[in-house]
């Protein structure tokens, strides 16, 4: 009987789990952050109430995927956790402060009257800054960190480059698109009309940004360029941009019509494809440009101990998350506050 080489396999499994956690976070918290980004531009206060009520019961669960991303990385790839977080200290600070203001707005806004506009702003700017900061962190991750001897040795502003700023803006547009298509699904009347009109301009912006980021990324690192632009990789990988283009085309056509859930699914697909492209560029590094998942991995005793639980617990989490979404299904109408 051959023994399984856990030290080689576990990091790959954990990289997969980490990707699932990040994707879940981006897709789920992405649309509720997007609602915050679009929030002040809605027609009136009733619309804003409806927008908030579409996510009030579920946003907390969505945000928990972020904590799983952080906790999971500490557990499975401590070296990555201990280098990426110091490397993005200030953007993470902005994200945390923004998430604080945004999170409490859900509770405080409905309890306030004279100061409600304060919590409206807190929700909007909290969502906006949290998203932009996440884009900065993502950009820093792609461009890589200065690491020596498993320790971040760069400066406090290494994260600030034109590329990372572009990523920040791109993510704002991306989350806004997710939020917009979510609202197309979950609302009706003139709020839905407004979102349907917003869908195409947002999609256009997202595609432009995704295009620029995609073209720019190979220039950041020679290895990434080699991976995409040598034969036969070019042939194998060409479906990624092609499918992306087709999905965008689909969203362009369905976003303004009488489709409910289709635009949201297509917008999520756009995100998934972008992730796929990112994964192809960076694999197998967990701290670009040099530290691989095997070098950063916790020992099999730790990764295995966690995996044993995750195999049962993550599907369970997904089950009751689905249940919660099911309880709060259907269009949300003005004045229908599910508020407690």
């Amino acid at each position: 009987m051959s023994t399984i080489d856990w030290a080689a396999h576990l990091p790959v499994i954990w990289a997969g789990i980490a990707v699932v956690a990040v994707v879940m976070y981006v897709l789920l918290d992405g649309f509720d952050l997007g609602i915050g980004i679009l929030f002040p531009y809605a027609g009136n206060d009733d619309d804003r109430d409806v927008m908030m009520n579409t996510v009030a019961p579920i946003w907390d669960g969505n945000e928990t995927w972020l904590v799983l991303g952080g906790g999971g990385m500490l557990a499975a790839f401590p070296v990555a956790y201990a280098t990426i977080l110091p490397g993005t200290y200030l953007p993470l600070l902005v994200m945390l402060i923004a998430l604080i203001f945004r999170g409490v707005a859900f509770e405080f806004r409905f309890k306030a009257r004279t100061s409600r506009h304060v919590w409206d702003r807190s929700f909007h700017y909290g969502s906006l800054f949290a998203t932009f900061a996440q884009g900065l962190v993502l950009g820093s991750f792609i461009q890589g960190f200065e690491v020596e001897n498993r320790t971040f040795v760069g400066g406090p502003f290494d994260w600030l480059t034109p590329f990372t700023v572009l990523c920040g803006v791109a993510l704002v547009a991306g989350y806004a698109l997710l939020g917009c298509t979510w609202l197309i699904w979950r609302t009706e009347g003139h709020l839905r009309e407004w979102c349907a009109q917003l869908c195409r301009p947002l999609l256009l912006a997202v595609m432009i940004f995704v295009g620029i980021v995609s073209l720019w990324t190979p220039f950041l690192d020679n290895d990434i360029a080699m991976r995409w632009f040598t034969m036969p990789n070019l042939l194998y990988l060409s479906p990624v941009p092609v499918v992306t283009f087709l999905v965008a085309l689909g969203l362009w056509r369905t976003g303004t019509r009488r489709h409910d859930v289709v635009p949201f699914l297509l917008a999520m697909s756009l995100f998934l494809l972008s992730f796929l492209g990112l994964g192809i560029s960076l694999w197998p590094n967990v701290v670009p440009p040099d530290i691989s998942i095997w070098e950063a991995a916790a020992p099999p005793a730790s990764q295995g101990f966690m995996l044993a639980g995750m195999v049962f617990l993550v599907p369970l989490v997904i089950c009751y998350t689905v249940f919660c979404y099911y309880v709060f299904r259907g269009k949300v109408r003005p004045g229908e506050g599910y508020h407690h």
Binding site: P57, T64, A76, A82, L93, V104, F108, A112, P156
Partner: protein
């Protein structure tokens, strides 16, 4: 100006965790209290329980919201400010936190949505179940986080490589370290006491105002009943925890006691000013032999002293000494209130002694202060170590960190929490002032088919708490 990133990181961690711990301390007990009310409502069908449950659920929601957002901050600070600690202990502490997320956080966050917003969408039994899941989630969360904290205090089940990285040999020993059972029992009991005193204070205040009297009587009677059980129990658990600390962290006990010399038959110092420079405790007022009796259960047992270890290995005793006395003192006040309530209850005057009711109102924050004081005692008491005896706090910080970055983040947290906390307290006070809504409770909606829509929404405008202009 030279800014010390390690000192500032310590201040930042102390500030953010002190703020954060207040909310779990309250919501752990409150979630259980709401489950009891939901269960009584479901079982008896008496609306008074449902109304009380809704009232406390609103307060729970505000408190939980602040707990969640301040908790996210905690999970990132290990990486941003204490990256060496993260790298060296990540193999051990990381899985505990990851298990906390998947067993507790998701459970709480997901069922909280149903608990807060599902009243009219799910049957009563399912709503009870959701509240139960939230309450169980808070307890599971306490289990894991105290397991992680206890491992840092009394590490076990590991071996350490030449690069300083801790690797796990035995998970059982990692999760159930020697101090863990005591720490967990002490914390959970403290959390329930904290909630009980808040419920008692709010009920007492409503009784004094003659407002929703039946509700207030239920709240007062039940919370005081709990206090009568838990206050003495907590003192007993605290004593066991102290003995455990004496065994595993003797220097911490020396700092708590203000003792410098290792001695037999040590006296209990009631008042004193420990002086780290002079290596003595000034102005002692002490009861002979009592410390030895408490710590060793013998009049001439041996107790440790701060001089047992080198000066650089000693925690800062003046703070530990005094926070410990605050915690113990408040524990005794809790016990006194328990006894007082038993006396009044026996005479059938529990609800109509104004002096007692006012005292209860004044005691509203007693649990919070006791928990903070206890937290300071145990956390400052383990200094200068992050992992007790093995990894110094000064060696655990992020090497690349600039003092300015930490100063900026510390100030940002102070400003943010300075806005959020008073606002949250303000909204909670307004909710308390409003009291339970005694209107008829609408029948729960249908679980099947399309969600039921209310004719008169219970949302927004009527719920506003601020005076209209």
């Amino acid at each position: 100006m030279e800014l010390d990133p390690i000192f500032l990181s310590r201040v930042q961690f102390a500030f953010t965790i002190s703020f954060h711990v207040l909310f779990p301390a309250f919501t752990v007990g409150l979630a259980a209290w709401i489950v009891v009310l939901e269960g009584l409502w479901w079982g008896t069908g008496r609306d008074v329980y449902g109304q009380l449950s809704r009232f406390w659920t609103k307060i729970f929601a505000v408190s939980f919201g602040m707990g969640v957002v301040s908790g996210i901050v905690m999970s990132f600070q290990f990486g941003t400010n204490w990256s060496v600690m993260s790298q060296q202990t990540g193999n051990v502490v990381g899985p505990l936190i990851a298990y906390e997320v998947v067993t507790a956080f998701f459970l709480e966050a997901t069922f909280l949505g149903v608990m807060l917003f599902g009243q009219n969408r799910v049957p009563r039994g399912l709503h009870f179940f959701s509240s139960l899941m939230v309450a169980i989630g808070t307890l599971i969360s306490t289990f894991w986080i105290l397991s992680a904290n206890s491992w840092l205090q009394t590490p076990g089940g590991f071996e350490r490589g030449p690069d300083g990285v801790f690797a796990v040999v035995d998970w059982w020993q990692v999760i159930f370290t020697p101090s863990f059972p005591y720490r967990l029992a002490h914390m959970v009991t403290g959390a329930f006491l904290t909630t009980a005193f808040v419920v008692a204070a709010v009920s007492a205040w409503h009784l004094l105002k003659r407002r929703t009297v039946p509700h207030a009587q239920i709240g007062l009677s039940m919370s005081l009943g709990l206090i009568c059980v838990l206050a003495p129990l907590q003192i007993f658990i605290g004593d066991l925890h102290g003995l455990n600390t004496l065994e595993h962290q003797p220097t911490k006990v020396a700092a708590m006691e203000g003792h410098w010399e290792r001695q037999r038959g040590a006296s209990l110092i009631l008042f004193g000013l420990p002086d780290m420079e002079a290596e003595t405790t000034h102005y002692e007022i002490a009861i002979p032999k009592l410390s030895a009796l408490i710590l060793t259960h013998s009049l001439d047992g041996e107790t440790p002293g701060l001089l047992d270890v080198a000066p650089e290995d000693r925690p800062y005793a003046p703070v530990v000494f005094w926070t410990f006395r605050i915690m113990v003192g408040l524990g005794l006040v809790m016990l006194a209130i328990a006894v007082w309530s038993l006396y009044l209850r026996a005479r059938g005057r529990l609800f109509d002694s104004p002096v007692f009711l006012r005292t209860l109102v004044a005691c509203l924050p007693i649990g919070f202060i006791a928990i903070l004081a206890g937290w300071f005692t145990t956390e400052i008491g383990r200094q200068p170590y992050m992992v007790y005896g093995l990894l110094r706090t000064a060696d655990a910080a992020t090497p690349s960190l600039s003092g300015w970055s930490v100063l900026v983040s510390l100030l940002a947290f102070i400003v943010a929490y300075g806005v959020i906390f008073p606002s949250g307290v303000y909204y909670m006070v307004r909710l308390v002032q409003g009291g339970p809504d005694t209107g008829e409770i609408r029948p729960p909606g249908l679980a099947e088919g399309r969600p039921q829509h209310q004719k008169r929404p219970l949302s927004v405008p009527e719920e506003s708490l601020e005076p209209a202009e």
